[in-house]
């Protein structure tokens, strides 16, 4: 399933917080939690403040705190853009 990994980047207003490859991203949008795997349709969503969990290929998890942001998905590239974002 996860043959084509996702390339994920988390950016805040003044820096790139994290970027790398992952198999799954779970984020909290204004309408609820959303999990994204490879092959997801293009999406642009507003994030509500909360955790963004990125699962890497080896199963470890990277957790970032993001507030006031967006999530965009296209061609297995996920960009999480937030005014304030930090790794937890």
């Amino acid at each position: 399933m996860a043959s084509a990994p996702l390339s994920v980047s988390v950016v805040s207003a003044d820096q790139q917080v994290w970027s790398g490859e992952a198999t799954m991203v779970v984020a909290r949008t204004v309408e609820g939690e959303i999990g994204i795997l490879a092959g997801h349709e293009p999406l642009l969503a507003i994030l509500s403040s909360g955790e963004v969990r990125v699962t890497l290929a080896d199963g470890t998890k990277v957790v970032a705190e993001a507030a006031d942001g967006f999530l965009s998905v296209e061609n297995d590239t996920i960009t999480i853009v937030a005014r304030k974002a930090a790794l937890v």
């Binding site: 820096q15 949008t29 204004v30 642009l44 967006f70």
Partner: protein, 300 residues
């Protein structure tokens, strides 16, 4: 010591002291440019991501949004000027103010009223000296801009934009700032911020990547509502960072030439003072010789 010689020595000393100051400022600016440049680079992913997202929504949805639609008549335009807080930075502030004046003339010739939003103490001083009014101003921290300030400016501009023109609102917003090209070149640049022209040369998406059809959550309009203010903030923040980097580069250049000039002055005055000293010695010798001659001829 002759009077002339003393004057030259004083001038040398004063040039030396000035040089110490300008040299210190040069070194400080030089060390800060790197940091400022790094901050510009660090904020690029954010603004790129936002620009991409805005273009995606604006291109792939047919929603009419107040921020993107051109008003039929534009009566008032706002001009945001990004200058510096402190001087001694060469033409940094004056060139951006000159650019703003030209823009003002252009806007006036199109029959628009112009209101000003000022950033940096220098632009404020320019306006208050000429007894001209500005709508709002922000001072302090132009050499190390904070995102909170950008947010504040963005909010103030949006609020003015969303108000009716009869109510004191504006129909159009321009920003004028110094763009950092390289250590030696900083160009004043005018960008129209609102209404939005999303497709912009410098951040156009790569040709290979065709913008996909997006799914919006909750819906396109809400996403655009939330996205546009953020886009504006990021543009303003970018302008502030560019302006800060330019300020340091410009100051470094100005202070370098000031130090060089001080060097030249010191050299010139040293020559003159050597000359004066030599003249003095020569005169003393000829006085002594003349005196001795007179004495010996008196004896005989």
């Amino acid at each position: 010591m002759g009077a002339q010689l003393r004057v030259y020595r004083q001038k040398i000393k004063s040039a030396q002291t000035t040089k110490k100051i300008t040299r210190a400022m040069e070194l400080i600016s030089a060390s800060r440019i790197q940091k400022a440049q790094a901050r510009v680079a660090a904020s690029t992913p954010y603004s790129r991501a936002i620009t991409r997202a805005v273009s995606a929504v604006a291109t792939y949805s047919n929603i009419e949004h107040v921020l993107t639609t051109e008003p039929e008549v534009i009566n008032r335009a706002a001009v945001v000027i990004f200058a510096s807080d402190r001087g001694l930075a060469g033409a940094f502030s004056s060139q951006v103010l000159r650019e703003a004046e030209q823009l003002t003339e252009l806007l006036r010739s199109q029959g628009k009223d112009v209101v000003y939003y000022l950033v940096g103490r220098k632009s404020l001083a320019y306006f208050s000296f000429r007894r001209r009014v500005s709508e709002r101003s922000w001072t302090g921290g132009t050499d190390q801009p904070q995102f909170d300030t950008a947010q504040e400016i963005g909010e103030a501009l949006l609020e003015a934009f969303l108000r009716e023109a009869d109510d004191g609102g504006v129909d159009e917003i321009h920003i004028v700032y110094n763009r950092f090209v390289s250590m030696v070149t900083q160009v004043p640049e005018v960008v129209r911020l609102l209404p939005l022209e999303v497709v912009e040369g410098e951040e156009a998406p790569e040709a290979s990547a065709v913008l996909p059809l997006y799914e919006f959550e909750p819906e396109a309009e809400t996403v655009l509502d939330a996205l546009l203010p953020v886009y504006i903030e990021s543009r303003i923040f970018n302008a502030m960072l560019q302006s800060a980097a330019s300020e340091h580069a410009s100051r470094q250049k100005a202070m370098k030439s000031a130090s060089d000039n001080a060097d030249k002055l010191i050299k010139d005055y040293t020559r003159l003072s050597n000359n004066a000293r030599q003249t003095e010695i020569t005169q003393q010798i000829s006085e002594i010789v003349g005196g001795a001659d007179a004495l010996s001829s008196a004896k005989n």
